[in-house]
Amino acid sequence: MRQRRIIPGVDPKLLIKDAASLMPDASRRGFLRGAASLGALTLLTGCDIIDGDTAEGVLRKISAFNDGAQAALFSPTKLAPTFPESAITRPFPFNAYYDEDEAPEVDGATYKLEVAGLVDNKKPWTLAELHALPEVSQITRHVCVEGWSAIGSWQGTPLSEFLTRIGADTRAKYVWFKCAEGYSNTIDMPTALHPQTQMTFKYDHKILPRAYGFPMKIRMPTKLGFKNPKYVVAMEVTNTDRGGYWENQGYNWFSGL
């Protein structure tokens, strides 16, 4: 394994692991293809009874059904558990599908948050304007789709208040986020309006470092880590599901906690 530059305060073990384990086998297009893919079921029956594409189609339909089940289970008022300062995981892991030294470097001086879609005021926001918004803080558990979790401290402004401020139509179904490196994802409006969903500008009371998403991430303690976009440069209030980086590759869309 080649030597990676590791930033101080980031667990190198997690840094190396995270990029590798989320990625599909490059040699395979479909993740269900091949004899090994059906594993135990193939062993059980002694033959490949399910065609890869058929199985994938059925599984994706069930995943869509699970989106609905999770939306029904989601409470707009139930808060994620919060923790004392002493519970914060130090160092908090960097996590992405690329190395930390490949993370986007956004220039805060020229940064503007684009606002689009079903909103009254589409004026872009400078970082100074965003930093002037009322600040709330949370210490919550970040749960990765891989299974590990870490407790972190985030400060910023509630997304619901920002949506009100820009005159967003909160009857719309989705909010879509676009990130500096091309990452994106779409969330449901009830989650966007959840009291703990936060436009985050600080980590542990200091301006977000590059590793954690400078200049802005969206923190949602009610969703898996990959649904919490970093380096956010644009948001759109919309009735069209625009999907997302991981969601399009087969990860569950709702991914609620």
């Binding site: 599909p24 090994a36 893919s37 087969g250």
Partner: protein
């Protein structure tokens, strides 16, 4: 058996099944569901191992994390709904009480000793020995724990009271893992014995 001798050997069709239809149907649905859950669970485990080992890719299901999660969260419905039907009917019909209880520790020891010296009788497979009773009750409990700890990991916000009951998110992952290990351990013994005593396998297929 006494009923059978009373009515004579000619009425085989009227003989009570060792395993009624609902037991056989739920058993085989469960067999498929649990294999998919274990295979995909091993792949999910590999993404963030709790211990310094991985499960070999060749016996894990789903090819990568997203595929494994799709299998896991599809088969969970089969496992949970089928399990609920099985446990409900097992209690309501009185089968659990009749077949699995009571379990006396002295009898478990005696039967375990007899089993290890190959002196345990398998003449009447409609009656479970004490070791079987213990294992079957144990695996039903492990099944309940694995479903509940799975829910605790899946929904640590919406079902946070349940997650707290399992000692929090991180601890619930260990509970889920060890419940899996218990079920896999049971399966090794269960499948081996079904093959050693083939008429028990036949009874689970045909009822007799």
């Amino acid at each position: 058996m006494s009923a059978e001798t009373a009515v004579g050997g000619g009425q085989i069709a009227a003989r009570a099944a060792i395993h009624p239809v609902w037991v056989r149907v739920t058993h085989w649905i469960n067999a498929i569901a649990i294999l998919v859950m274990i295979g995909s669970g091993w792949q999910i485990y590999n993404a963030a191992p709790l211990f310094p080992f991985n499960f070999p890719k060749s016996i894990a299901l789903g090819n990568w994390l997203a595929g494994a999660l799709l299998w896991h969260f599809a088969a969970m419905w089969l496992l949970a709904i089928n399990g609920l039907v099985y446990v409900t009917l097992g209690i309501v019909s009185g089968r659990f009480r009749r077949k699995l209880l009571p379990i006396s520790p002295a009898q478990v020891l005696a039967d375990a000793k007899a089993a290890l010296s190959f002196k345990l009788s398998h003449e009447d497979i409609s009656r479970y020995n004490a070791v079987q009773k213990l294992l079957y009750v144990g695996v039903i409990l492990a099944g309940i724990v694995i479903v509940l700890s799975g829910l605790a990991i899946w929904k640590p916000v919406q079902l946070q009271e349940l997650t707290a009951l399992f000692g929090g998110y991180d601890f619930a992952r260990y509970v889920h893992f060890f419940a899996m290990a218990a079920i896999v351990g049971f399966l090794v013994v269960h499948v081996a014995l079904a093959l050693i005593v083939p008429k028990s396998l036949r009874a689970m297929l045909t009822g007799h």
